[in-house]
Subunit: 230 residues, 2 copies
């Protein structure tokens, strides 16, 4: 009997940071306090990861700090060592989101010289981000509870700056038929709007879930006719 418990305990120990279920945990804390890791390791990062998964899977309403704690095998108070409150965690999520949005925007730009192409690739990256993390995208643009956090604003501005930069390049090369601001308004609105329509499944195209590339193949010509000199 004892060896069975030992076996169980051993298994559970390896599981403790991934999936956590009520009875297992009780077993752990009563039987094997000595061996269970008291410190989580990198709870902050794990919380953010788990939060993103939870957000994507259950939507904004399904995200709770207690549930995150449970999932990571940690008590309800633990997250408060890393985030002041729930809003702070959401903000951290959004900040990380903006960083990744920016990364996605510029991902394929390195090897391309043609500014028009760069604009198209940036748009594709934007849509790629939105479609692969729809709920995070909605959090960032929309219902983020407290938006006046400096770090959050900076991260957002950085992402938009990357977009602006490309348009400015177009302007510098004399490719635009309008001012940067007017061109930016159209280009950004179009891509942003398409992103939302796409994740809301409101676009009635042949393919019900078209890829980012596919959408930009459909849109770029129109956009460029709207703002480019061709």
């Amino acid at each position: 009997m004892y060896s069975l418990y030992t076996l169980m305990y051993t298994t559970f120990t390896f599981d403790v940071n991934s999936v956590y279920s009520e009875p297992m945990n009780k077993l752990q804390s009563t039987m094997a306090t000595a061996r269970k890791a008291y410190h989580h390791g990198d709870l902050r990062e794990s919380l953010l990861e788990a939060a993103e998964t939870m957000l994507e899977e259950e939507g904004p309403t399904g995200l709770s700090l207690r549930k995150l704690g449970r999932e990571l095998g940690v008590t309800p108070g633990a997250p408060y060592r890393h985030f002041e409150d729930k809003d702070a965690l959401l903000a951290a999520l959004a900040i990380e989101g903006y960083r990744r949005l920016r990364a996605e925007l510029v991902r394929d730009l390195g090897s391309v010289d043609d500014a028009e192409q760069r604009l198209k690739l940036a748009g594709t990256g934007y849509l790629r981000f939105a479609t692969s993390h729809p709920e995070l995208f909605r959090l960032m643009f929309g219902w983020m509870p407290s938006r006046d956090i400096p770090e959050l604003c900076e991260a957002g501005d950085a992402a938009f700056a990357a977009f602006d930069r490309i348009l400015q390049d177009c302007a510098d090369e004399g490719l635009l038929s309008r001012g940067v601001r007017e061109a930016g308004l159209l280009a950004w609105s179009a891509v942003h709007g398409a992103a939302f329509l796409l994740i809301d499944e409101r676009l009635e195209l042949d393919d019900p879930k078209p890829s980012a590339e596919c959408i930009l193949d459909l849109m770029h010509d129109s956009i460029w006719s709207g703002i480019g000199r061709r």
Copy 2:
């Protein structure tokens, strides 16, 4: 003393359907049961109105059935006479939203023959709706919990149909340089995206809160260059 109570009661009676506060209500139900209207009159409509106000003022998280009941001077169970559950009320809100969005879209179209102008006016109506009911707009496009309600889909489709119709007019008059679908993708995305950026205050224009007309003055030329034959 008695006359004071009477005076208070009289005042409160007239307030019962607007603002409701705990102690007042207790006074009512103990003192003046005879005179208080047992039936509300049109609770369903009042709930929807109050819900919309609450949504706009406190955001999606701030909306609760109990709070609505309190506000309307009605017990927590009362709303369930009119809506199966909270989601049903939200759906009703969104449905009504789509109707009004459609109305806003076509508002100024009657007197205008020029199809290009009609498109611009419809876009303006779209933005006007979004900016005057930002949270409702977000509910409709985004975090609506249960979206597979037939009536909801119909209302949505009807609004989009109005938009499509105008584009089809443009096509029929030979004004478009592209297929209706491609043109629609750009036009709708651009307007939709601008609406979101606008209510998120992400547009860096001279005026921090520009009017719908102002935005479309800035955008329409680009859009039309993108899809129109000019």
